[in-house]
Symmetry: C2
Subunit: 188 residues, 2 copies
């Protein structure tokens, strides 16, 4: 496990907003006591570049109360090869299932929070919950990224997007339109 | 213009959450008095299937105050052919620019709100702002979809995603994993 975990290298926290902006399916890890858990999530939005990220959970999710109580999590960005795993993670509950064991995920040690990194994900961002006041109204938690990691050994860099109804799309062709973005060069 | 507008047909409001869940770049129209405007947006999250959608704007955006004041908008989902237009829309302000004229967008009449539909978009969802209390803290407006439209004449159904730094990806391969989603069949 240590060996796999050691594949993770520092990634720029400043650039990590770019991981969330396209709206990929995410994995979210939590830890309560000695028990780590992971859920699948596609309802999220950037709030700021720093990054600040809003994530929306159901109050039926096992992670919901853990997140409210422990106020920390890791957001992992899975690649295309983890798509079936991500769907299966979303299809059972941490109440009954040890998901890291069941889905052969490697829990690597985080630096700033207790919930683990997922060594098989492209990127991991350790997050603090900075606002729980919207949890009851909208299931929303506001997160601040504290530390980002990359696994650059993973060859397939495509992420994937949920379309509801069991349909997903992989990232397709990449287009660079930097030349059109002249007004706010600080965002380029 | 009426002719182009008439290409729009009713679309299921119930299914329209599927348009937002993958996190595509959106266009958001507003109207104040006789002046319609449109902005480009990629910071948004679903809050509920009905659909309820959180959108995050900068308070520097010209649309910010209009949205707060008029409490209505249209969210349009542009296809791949509108990618350069969407970037250019995001690269100027409604303060100086008549964006519908400048970018040759056809403003079609909405049914439930004053801001116009964009006839060239794949889908349009007319929305009411149901919560402005997060506008100052997070630039966040909570929207409820009221009525959805589809332009089924558009051949290229691919949407696109912002990765920051002027990079975009088109929708790629579609994968159907409905068979894995057994626990919560109501979401399938």
């Amino acid at each position: 496990m240590a060996q796999k975990g050691s594949m993770l290298i520092d990634y720029s926290l400043e650039k990590s907003f770019e991981l969330f902006e396209p709206g990929p399916v995410l994995l979210l890890t939590t830890k309560q006591g000695e028990k780590s858990n992971v859920m699948t999530l596609s309802w999220h939005a950037l709030i700021d570049f720093t990054p600040i990220i809003a994530v929306v959970l159901s109050n039926g999710d096992y992670s919901f109360n853990t997140l409210r109580k422990t106020k920390e999590c890791v957001l992992a960005i899975p690649n295309a090869e983890l798509m079936q795993t991500a769907v299966s993670i979303g299809n059972c509950s941490g109440r009954e299932t040890d998901k890291f064991a069941t889905f052969n995920l490697t829990a690597a040690k985080s630096q700033r929070v207790k919930p683990p990194l997922i060594a098989e994900a492209l990127y991991n961002v350790e997050c603090a919950v900075i606002d729980v006041s919207l949890a009851d109204r909208y299931g929303m938690f506001v997160l601040e990224g504290l530390k980002a990691w990359e696994n650059e050994k993973i060859a397939d860099r495509r992420t994937f997007h949920a379309h509801g109804n069991g349909i997903f799309t992989l990232d397709g062709e990449e287009i660079n339109l930097k030349n059109l973005m002249t007004k706010w060069p600080q965002f380029v």
